[in-house]
Every structure is written in structure tokens, then in C-alpha cells.
Amino acid sequence: MSARPKVQMDIGQEWVAVCKLTDIVPDTGVCALVDGRQVAVFRLHDDSVYAIDNHDPFSRANVLSRGIVGDLKGECVIASPVYKQHFSLASGQCLEEADVRIAVFPTRVEGGMVLVNIHINK
């Protein structure tokens, strides 16, 4: 298999570079290991990047990065690949269950690298 960027360096203020933007096919996600935590990182068609918890609270499997990206009533969402609940990429709010919300993390793209900060929960 091809070489992967092993970058996990700190770029100040606990921002962690997880991969190159081009490592993510537009409108799909990948899973990154950030300080021991599994984070699902999505690149949308306009190169905006979102990071949310990779843990699916309904199936309790670490799989949200493998869901289908889309929009519902204008809101960018990810559909869990297991039981298909939708989560807002911006807020982590589950659209089907009002009292379920998952963690959402800030992201930046710098020098072609995707940075995630898991110490600030948006």
C-alpha cells in the first residue's frame, strides 16, 4: 500500500495536522487518530473541511467517517452508514433525535495540510 503521511506534529495551540487535503476525495471522509481520539474528517466539494467524532452513538461503532455526505434542507450532514441517522457537520446535532448531539471540532487548512483541534469542542 502507498506511503502515508505520518505527520502528527503540533502546530501551536494543540492544532494537529492529520493529512493532506488531497488525501481526501471531495465529498467523502477519512478517520484520523488525534491524541488517541478517533475523529472523522470530511472534505466537501468546495474544499471546506469539517471534523466530528467518529463514534456513532446509535451503533456504537467507529464508522461515521464512512457515511455519505449530503445536505438536508440546506444543512450539511453526514449519514451514519449503519442505521442512517443524519448528523449536522456544523453542530453535531442528530436530525432524527433531538437529544443526541456528537462532538464537533474546529479545522483549518494550511499549506495544503488539514489541521484539527480536538481541545476545543465547538
Binding site: P26, L33, Q38, R66, V69, P81, K84, H86
Partner: protein, 854 residues
């Protein structure tokens, strides 16, 4: 004459918090929101009202909480005092007080009796044994379950509705089950002799023994079991536990002691307003006797609850009009229904009877002497027409010229004879449990309840016994069609087209990507509904490799990783085994690969082998080994052709008339990988004994002396459907030609996730139309459909072979983008020598241990 019945500032006492008592409270508070009333409820059971109708589901895992009928905070919110576990023991009508077992005295202005009934236990010596039970409350079921865990044989005394339900429960608890009935047939109230006999055959076929015309004389100590039943005719039956279900009796003792008038055979007599002979005391539900009749069903009780609440809140003309006792049930998996005058007691009634002993179907219509009206009906073995027959009876709709058509099976290709819902008047009562009429449903639909869920929530229709569900759905569909909304056909909010329309637009417009399609014909960015649907359309139109990066974001995870996602985030692998024929060498390879990667192995329900528990990063490694050994993708992950099941056929089987294995292999290799609206399953049997179950498949082929019979649109699964015969005695070439046309026609016109069975049921013209298109080429599309299929066949490649040789594609098979670590959340434990995913509690236990080690 009429009392001042306004409840403002009045004290209301209710005795009994069963299904009807609770419905009464809800009706009352909803009608008196503006003026608070003082309500106290006596509830003898240790818990407030629960769904007794669904009681048996307690055995299949429903908890007492799930059966609960009381909305959260209901009593508090409405200031109702609930005396849980406290029984009313006396009514002093002179002083207008109720005394309870715990010694409370409570004054009332209005008293409501909703005490229900109790199971009748015949006076037989021995019923005091501790293994004798009744079947009425959650506590009874708890006790039965306890006793059953120590028992082998169980007997139900009483072969009526409830008795058979109890028998099913004992059977499901793993007991050898007997049903003992006093009358000469089962369900004596609802069925006639022929219906009862048929039901008996069906129940016996399930392994439940039925003994009719048996009067139990005594219960004594047993020899092979704990007890022995002695019958009046001298015979006997050994059993460990006994459940009495010999009928119910109204619980009227309290009312009787208070001097209220009671019917000859029990029941608290009430008038049309549900008042007893004391105008301040009402009775409703199973304890009430109206017009000489007792009702042992919830629907009439619910109506009484509403009438009482209305009358109490000042609607002096609220009257109970009497109720219908029609019922539809699934007893031990057998559909049984009885409608109206099932025994034909009306003086000039005429019967129409249809019996099919081979399939175990019995249907009887009771019609008026002039053959214009349906008076009643009995259905055993198949009760699909219950809804429409009930409506004909209740609404006195004129019968068609040949009433017998209503029960005769539709001939092959014949049009469906059911009367459509459009023929019903608005007053037609559709849901009798919740008193919802067709008009009520239509206005809810017009007001915006355009999904089944919203309609059920808004009207309560189909939320109790569920018997009216299919009819509610038909009305919804028909109303939506009239509104011209046909919402369900739109793919999703991004496309105002059905899948069929989008397929056409894509093909004709030569569109090759999702972006092109959504820009041209849709809006927004798409979602998990339309993306996979478009992926399937693109695959069927152009057969491009589904893992091309431009198609990748469209794929459901199964297609994205070419494997089936399991509950813990691992995947399963099903290699293709065409026709189910496999070389010993290949079987060994499957075993070796499973051992090498530690996978769980299982034979699937469709003649192949599934390997479970592979992590994403292992998938390409596993497939490398499989491809090297000559395996191909089995497309178990795709909405695509799955398998072509076969029997050994004429090669080995002494009855086979054609070589079914060779045909199955050829067919599977021809259509492997074909993407369609939903999965496709096929089978080939070597003779009419049908060992490959071809009539349960989307495409089924059965050998004949002269060639092959082609069946289409069968289904197993959620709603099994027997396939329809499309064409007879075909030679090999015509067979394939017809299948090509049939499949391509379905792929072009099917809806998203619509199997061929549902597709056909929604296709105007039905199988006759398909036959015209496929066999007679009525649309002139034949050549085009065949050419499309040939193009697909010629461009087939194994998706996995391609994947393991493409570094770009391989990149996606890893759990972390920035680490080689596996997903630590995936944990297996051993069971019967193989792995299985750890349950949550097992996982937590492990984590705790790991932490304490650190």
C-alpha cells in the same frame, strides 16, 4: 329527566385503571380542560394501565414498561389521584362513598366502574394446584414463565381466541403444547365446523396437539408429568402446567353488592349513555352489559369511554350505538377472521363457501337472500380481504353480480377483484379500535399528514391491533394520488423525479456523473438517498467501474468497500459460488483464508459461504488470496444480482428432467454484477419438486419435460410472494432472451429499493402487461433491452480483481488516514470455537481489566 351532568367542581371516582378506564380518563380530561375536576382512580393491579391486547408480546421480550399505556406525567399533570394497588371493596350509594381495601373512604358525585372481567375457571377438583394459571395480567405471565422453565408439557383449557393465543405462548416457551376444548371445534364462537376443522389442521401441523369435545373432570397427580387431566369420556392427558382460558366473566360483584341491576348471566346493566340504574354511576368496558350484550374487545369499550366522558361533560345526547364484533387475528401464524353474522343466523341468509384443503384456505360469505348485501364472513388461512369485506358489511355496499368472486382465488393473470378504497363512503369506519372513519383519515391527509407515520400519529388509526393498517395505507396512497402529490415517488428533496424518470433522463441525456445530473435535474448537493440511487442508475446505464473517484462519494459504505458492513464496523465477505457448485480445492481455500485472518465462517441462506469480522485494512489482503484462488466478488454488498440457487437436477437426481446446475451457472455468470433498483435473486430447479425454491425469487426457472418454465417477481424476506408464471416450456435461447428483457425493463422502471415483487404489484396491468412487453414485445423495446444487456455482459469485470490491482483504490482501505493502528473499538470474544463481536458489557469489562492492569 336528564341529570345535571356537568363535572365542574364535582368529585369523580373511577374504579379500575385498565385499558378502558384509562381511555375514559384521557377522554374526560381532554373535554374538561378549562375547569379542573377532582378525579380519584382505584387501581387493583400494581401498575397503571397497560396494553392487555399485546400481553403475549411480554413473552417475546416486551417489558412491562413498553406495554404501559399511560403517557408520562399524565396523572400529575391533570391532578388525578391514583390509588395504585388499592382495591375498591364497597360502594355505599346512600352516602355516596366508596370504601377501599386499605380502609379509605372516598365520597363521589359521579362514580365510574371500569372493572373489566376475570378469567373463568371451571369448578374442577384440582384447580388449586400451584401449576394452574390464568392468562389475564402481567403477573399471570410472569408466573407462567417461571413455571415453564421447569416444565416440559403445557396444556391450555379452552380453544377460543385467547386459549389459542395462550397456546402459542406456551409453544414459543418451548413446551410440548396441548389445547383442550369442550366444544366439538376450535373458536366455536367465530367459526363454523369447516373453518374450525381447517384451523385445527393448521395448528396441529405446527406441533400443537388439539383435543376437542373434552370435558375436564379432575386434575390429579401425574405419572410422566406433574399432573394428569381426567376427562369425562374416560381419556386422560399428562401435563406439567395448565392454563385456563375457558372464557371471561364480567367483574360485577362490587356493583351487585351495591344493589345495581345486573344481567341474568352477569354484567352491570347500562343504558345508551353507559349509566347504570343509578344515574350517578356509570359502567363501561368489559364489565358493562349493554342491550343484553357483553363486549370482550377493546374497540367497543373505547367507544363507551368516549360516550361516558361526553355525557359527563354535558353532552346529554351522547349515545353508545352498539359495536361490531368482527375480528382478525393471526393465531399461531394462521390468519383467522370473522365478520358480522358469521354463522348465518339471519333467516334467509345464503352461504358461499370456498375450501382449498391443499393450501389450507377456507372462506365463507354470508349474504342476504336477495344477494345484494354481505352479512358476514369467515376467513381461515388467508385473511387479506378482511378489510374490504368488513367495509362491505358495515356500509351495506351493494355486492357485485357474482359475490363468489370475492372469495374465489384470482385466476392466473386475472385482475384483482378487491373493491378499491375509493368505493367506500366517508363514514366508513376504517379503524374500529380508535374509531377513525375514512373521512377522518382523508381530512388528516388533506391537512398535511402525508406519510403513514404522521397519519397514524395524528389520527391514532392503526396504532392498536393494527388490523386496519393495510387499508389505512391504501387510503393514504389513493388520496395522495388524487392530490396529484404522489410524494412517495420523488426520490428525495434533491430530485422531483422518480427513479424511473431519472433513469430515463440520464440515459437519454447521456449524463455520466452525479454532478451533471444534479445540476441539470436537481437541486442542492444530494444525500444518502439519491446518491446511491444515482450510482445504481449510472452503473446500469454505462457500467463504469463503481470505484472511480468521481463515483466514490455516491456509494453506500458496502459498495465503497465492496463488503458488507456489520454492527461493530467490521465487514463480511461473500465470494461468488455460481449455482452453489464448488470445487473441493476452493472450499479448502475458503477455510484457509478464514483461518489465516481469524474470520467467522457461516453457510449463508443462499448457498454460499460468508466470512465475517474483517477490518477494512484486511479486506484487500483477504481478497488478494481469494482472487488468486479464482474467486470473484459475490456482490453481497450491492443492489445487484446475488446468487442463482440451484438443485442438483437431472445430473444426479432421479427425478430431474433438465440440467439445472449448468443452467444456474450460466445464468449467474451472465448477470453477475448487474446493478438494479434492489437486489436480485434467482434460482433454477430441475423439476416441479422445486428444491431450489425458484418461485420465491425475482427470477425463477423450473425445468419441464419440454424445456423451462419462467417465473418472475417472487420474494422471500419481509413479505413473501409467490412468483408468477411468465412463460412456459421455453428453450434455452428464448429463456435467456426473456430474462434479458425482463431484467432490463425492471431496471429501467423500478423505484429505488423496490424488489421485483413490489414493482409488479404497483405496475398497472400487472403480469399481463409484463408478458406483453417481454414475450410479445408490445412496446417494440425488445431488441434495445437485449442489446443493453449484452453490452453489460460484455463489459463485466470483477470489482475486487480490479480493486486489488489499483493503488489509487487501495488507499481507501485503512481505518486511520494518519496511523497504521487498527480500530481498538473492534473487540471479539470466542463462541463455539469462532469469533463474534463482543457485546457492550463484555467490552466494558475488558476495558476495566485493561485499566486495572495499567
Amino acid at each position: 329527566m336528564i341529570e345535571e351532568t356537568n363535572v365542574k367542581n364535582k368529585k369523580i371516582v373511577v374504579i379500575g385503571n385498565g385499558m378502558i378506564g384509562q381511555r375514559f380518563l384521557e377522554q374526560l380530561v381532554s373535554r374538561s380542560e378549562t375547569h379542573p375536576i377532582d378525579i380519584t382512580v382505584f387501581c387493583a393491579e400494581p401498575r397503571p394501565a397497560y396494553d392487555r391486547v399485546q400481553l403475549t408480546s411480554f413473552f417475546s421480550g416486551k417489558s412491562a414498561d413498553e406495554l404501559n399505556l399511560v403517557p408520562e406525567g399524565f396523572f400529575e399533570q391533570h391532578g388525578i389521584t391514583l390509588r395504585l394497588g388499592d382495591k375498591a371493596v364497597a360502594i355505599d350509594r346512600a352516602r355516596k362513598v366508596v370504601r377501599s381495601a386499605r380502609g379509605h373512604e372516598l365520597p363521589y358525585d359521579k362514580l365510574v366502574l371500569a372493572t373489566g372481567s376475570y378469567p373463568f375457571v371451571p369448578k374442577v377438583p384440582g384447580t388449586e394446584w400451584q401449576d394452574c394459571f390464568v392468562y389475564r395480567a402481567i403477573e399471570d405471565l410472569e408466573a407462567i414463565r417461571m413455571a415453564a422453565s421447569q416444565a416440559r408439557v403445557g396444556t391450555v383449557i379452552g380453544g377460543g381466541l385467547l386459549g389459542l393465543e395462550a397456546a402459542k405462548a406456551l409453544h414459543d416457551l418451548g413446551l410440548k403444547t396441548h389445547v383442550v376444548e369442550f366444544a366439538p371445534r376450535l373458536m366455536a364462537v367465530q367459526l363454523d365446523d369447516s373453518g374450525g376443522r381447517l384451523l385445527r389442521h393448521k395448528i396441529e401441523a405446527l406441533g400443537v396437539a388439539v383435543h376437542t369435545s373434552k370435558q375436564t373432570r379432575e386434575i390429579v397427580k401425574g405419572e410422566t408429568c406433574r399432573h394428569k387431566l381426567l376427562f369425562a369420556d374416560g381419556s386422560m392427558l399428562e401435563t406439567d402446567l395448565i392454563v385456563f382460558s375457558a372464557g371471561i366473566r364480567p367483574r360485577d360483584q362490587l356493583a351487585k353488592a351495591a344493589g345495581l341491576s345486573i344481567g341474568e348471566r352477569g354484567g352491570i346493566a347500562v343504558n345508551d349513555h353507559c349509566q347504570t340504574n343509578d344515574a350517578d354511576i356509570y359502567a363501561l368496558g368489559e364489565c358493562a352489559l349493554w342491550s343484553g350484550r357483553l363486549y370482550g374487545l377493546v374497540a367497543p369499550g373505547y367507544q363507551m369511554a368516549e360516550v361516558t366522558a361526553r355525557h359527563l361533560t354535558g353532552e346529554h345526547d351522547a349515545r353508545f350505538p352498539g359495536a361490531d364484533m368482527s375480528t382478525k387475528l393471526k393465531l399461531l401464524g394462521v390468519d383467522v377472521a370473522s365478520i358480522g353474522d358469521a354463522h348465518g343466523v339471519a333467516p334467509d341468509a345464503l352461504n358461499y363457501v370456498f375450501t382449498d384443503e391443499a393450501s389450507g384456505i377456507y372462506k365463507k360469505l354470508v349474504v342476504s337472500g336477495d344477494r345484494k348485501r354481505l352479512l358476514g364472513a369467515v376467513l381461515v388461512g388467508e385473511a387479506n380481504d378482511y378489510g374490504s369485506l368488513l367495509q362491505l358489511t358495515l356500509n351495506a355496499i351493494p355486492l357485485p353480480e357474482h359475490p363468489e368472486d370475492l372469495i374465489l382465488p384470482a385466476r392466473e393473470g386475472g385482475a384483482s377483484k378487491g373493491l378499491g378504497v375509493d368505493a367506500l363512503p366517508d363514514t366508513a369506519l376504517i379503524c374500529s379500535c380508535n374509531n377513525v372513519s375514512k373521512g377522518g383519515l382523508c381530512s388528516a391527509i388533506a391537512a398535511g399528514a402525508t406519510s403513514l407515520g404522521a397519519l397514524k400519529k395524528g389520527t391514532k388509526a392503526a396504532t392498536s391491533c393494527g388490523g386496519c393498517g393495510p387499508m389505512v395505507k391504501q387510503i393514504l396512497d389513493s388520496e395522495l394520488k388524487k392530490q396529484g402529490v404522489d410524494v412517495k415517488n420523488y426520490l428525495c428533496e434533491h430530485f422531483a423525479y422518480s427513479r424511473q424518470e431519472l433513469f430515463h433522463l440520464t440515459r437519454v441525456g447521456g449524463l455520466k456523473t452525479f454532478d451533471q445530473i444534479i445540476t441539470k435535474h436537481g437541486q442542492g448537493r444530494g444525500c444518502d438517498i439519491c446518491k446511491p440511487a444515482v450510482a445504481s442508475i449510472l452503473a446500469a446505464c454505462w457500467n463504469e467501474y463503481i470505484l472511480k473517484p468521481k463515483h466514490a462519494p455516491l456509494q453506500d459504505t458496502n459498495d465503497y468497500y465492496l463488503a458488507n458492513l456489520q454492527k461493530d464496523g467490521t465487514y463480511s465477505i461473500v465470494p461468488r459460488v455460481p449455482g452453489g457448485e464448488i470445487l473441493p480445492e476452493k472450499l479448502i481455500v475458503l477455510g484457509e483464508v478464514a483461518k489465516k485472518f481469524g474470520l467467522y465462517t457461516k453457510i449463508t441462506g443462499a448457498q454460499r459461504i460468508d466470512l465475517f469480522g474483517a477490518r477494512v485494512e484486511q479486506l484487500p489482503l483477504i481478497w488478494k488470496d481469494l482472487v488468486d484462488a479464482g474467486f470473484e466478488s459475490g456482490h453481497a454488498y450491492g443492489k445487484a444480482l446475488r446468487t442463482v440457487k440451484s438443485c442438483v437436477g437431472s445430473t444426479w437426481c432421479r427425478y430431474g428432467v433438465q440440467d439445472s446446475v449448468t443452467m444456474a451457472i450460466n445464468i449467474e455468470n451472465r448477470y453477475r454484477g448487474l446493478r438494479s433498483p434492489h437486489k436480485l435473486k434467482m434460482a433454477v430447479s430441475g423439476c416441479t419438486r422445486e428444491c431450489a425454491e425458484a418461485q420465491g425469487k425475482d427470477v425463477g426457472i423450473i425445468a419441464t419435460e419440454k424445456g423451462w418454465n419462467l417465473y418472475v417477481c417472487g420474494n422471500g424476506g419481509i413479505k413473501p410472494r409467490h412468483a408468477d408464471l411468465l412463460a412456459k416450456d421455453l428453450d434455452d435461447r428464448t429463456l435467456v432472451q426473456y430474462i434479458d428483457r425482463f431484467l432490463m425493463f425492471y431496471i429501467r422502471t423500478g423505484d429505488r429499493l423496490q424488489r421485483t415483487a413490489t414493482w409488479l404489484e404497483n405496475l398497472e396491468g400487472g403480469i399481463d402487461y409484463v408478458r406483453k412487453v417481454v414475450c410479445e414485445d408490445s412496446l417494440g423495446l425488445g431488441a434495445e433491452l437485449e442489446a443493453d444487456m449484452q453490452k453489460f455482459v460484455d463489459s463485466y469485470e470483477c470489482e475486487w480483481k480490479k480493486a486489488i490491482n489499483d493503488p489509487e483504490t487501495l488507499k481507501r482501505f485503512r481505518h486511520f488516514v494518519n496511523s497504521e493502528e487498527p480500530d481498538r473499538n473492534v473487540v471479539f470474544v470466542a463462541e463455539r470455537g469462532q469469533i463474534r463481536p463482543a457485546r457492550a458489557d463484555e467490552r466494558e469489562e475488558r476495558e476495566m481489566k485493561a485499566e486495572s492492569v495499567v
